[in-house]
Symmetry: C2
DNA sequence: ATCGTCCTGTGATAAAATAAACAACAGTAT
DNA sequence: ATACTGTTGTTTATTTTATCACAGGACGAT
């Protein structure tokens, strides 16, 4: 159906549009033009219009866009109109931070279990979510359709665990380990490389220092 | 000195090159060609060569690149040859996770203090780093040159805190709050929007479902 | 109702990013 | 030595992305 390939750059911008529209919605803003939105978001109006028109015409000439409608439509595009069964592998600080982040629930991402190898953690609960042993992972994946697994384990263990997850049918991996995962192409990997992000910041700081 | 503007896309790739070269270094690989690196990293060899040549010729015809040298040079480009005084604002789970992440130290990012408003946390230590009261922040910034502040506070508080930090001379902000910060342009902001990342994953999962 | 203004959707244009191509040169084998 | 192979740095071509420009439709004022 959706014939034309949507560029990655467009997809990167969509969540940001969604966030801004959500903010406007909270402020009870009813309508907004691409021009006004562009000024707030520091992008060109043309880009907003063109990005949106990859998916259809959501606006109206002489009026602009209805904030609630556009927000909802972008949500649908992003797949936020469904629910995701999510698990977290690794109950370290980062894993716990993710488990505690209630905002994910609101967007349809439900963390149902956390897995770890640390006996001190196994059996405990984080925000009502049970920490299970890694030994239980396989059984869990067999009896539950897990959509997304967040990986927050050390770099060395990540590739092996990711392969296991892929083998057992997990199609979405949210990878926080500072390494790239090579998985079959039916598995979607989204990386969050914090150290890369910090290095980018460091680059830009150094660059400015040289001026 | 550095006349030509380096594109953002190039900067995004540098940390990844750096990571791969670090891995090769650990495996005692001495030399590598752009072709071999391109195969491992799933990019074109041409792109690697072109990216690197923005900064100078690090390789040798008929030989390739010396891994250690190239790693070190990219490190310099990224500003990893200096030390950064870093603080964390917000000692919640994410703040604690960052404080506990020892790898930052290795790259020259030293977390020296954490600030929070929670009286139960103030005075405690995380990996030897003291949690201080937000009331002490201003004094701390006056008596210490802070290079980078990581913001891990709720969305509503982030913009105000960021402005304070900017006013008090912090030039680098690592922002984990799910909102964009509008700061003077001498302040560099690097955003880590986890929810955006998750939405991108969700988009790609939904997209595949439709096939 | 009519006119003028506003603003979208989209086709044309410009700019930027990526990939391909290749000359030149170092290393290696014969 | 000499020729061959491999691989860079860089130029050129191609593709992709972003911006500009505008026709035409919708709204609101009069």
């Amino acid at each position: 159906m959706q014939k034309k390939e949507i560029s990655k750059a467009v997809i990167n911008r969509l969540p940001r549009y969604y966030r801004y529209l959500g903010d406007l919605l909270e402020k009870d803003v009813v309508r907004i033009s691409s021009k006004e939105l562009s000024e707030r978001m520091k992008v060109t109006a043309s880009q907003i219009r063109q990005d949106l028109n990859n998916f259809g015409g959501f606006g109206q000439q002489g009026y602009g866009y209805n904030v609630e409608y556009l927000h909802s439509e972008i949500g649908k595009i992003l797949g936020l109109d469904r629910k995701y069964h999510m698990i977290i592998i690794g109950a370290g600080n980062l894993g716990q931070a993710l488990a505690n982040y209630a905002d994910f629930d609101k967007k349809g991402f439900f963390v149902k279990a956390i897995f770890d190898i640390n006996p001190n953690l196994i059996g405990s609960q984080i925000r009502g979510i049970e920490v299970k042993s890694m030994d239980e992972l396989e059984d869990y994946l067999i009896s539950n359709k897990v959509d997304i697994a967040a990986i927050t384990v050390p770099k060395t263990k990540a590739p092996g665990i990711a392969s296991d997850l892929a083998r057992l049918g997990v199609k979405g991996i949210w990878n926080f380990a500072p390494t790239d995962l090579n998985l079959p192409k039916d598995v979607t990997v989204e990386n969050v490389h914090l150290i890369d992000s910090l290095m980018k910041l460091s680059y830009r700081l150094s660059e400015k220092d040289e001026e």
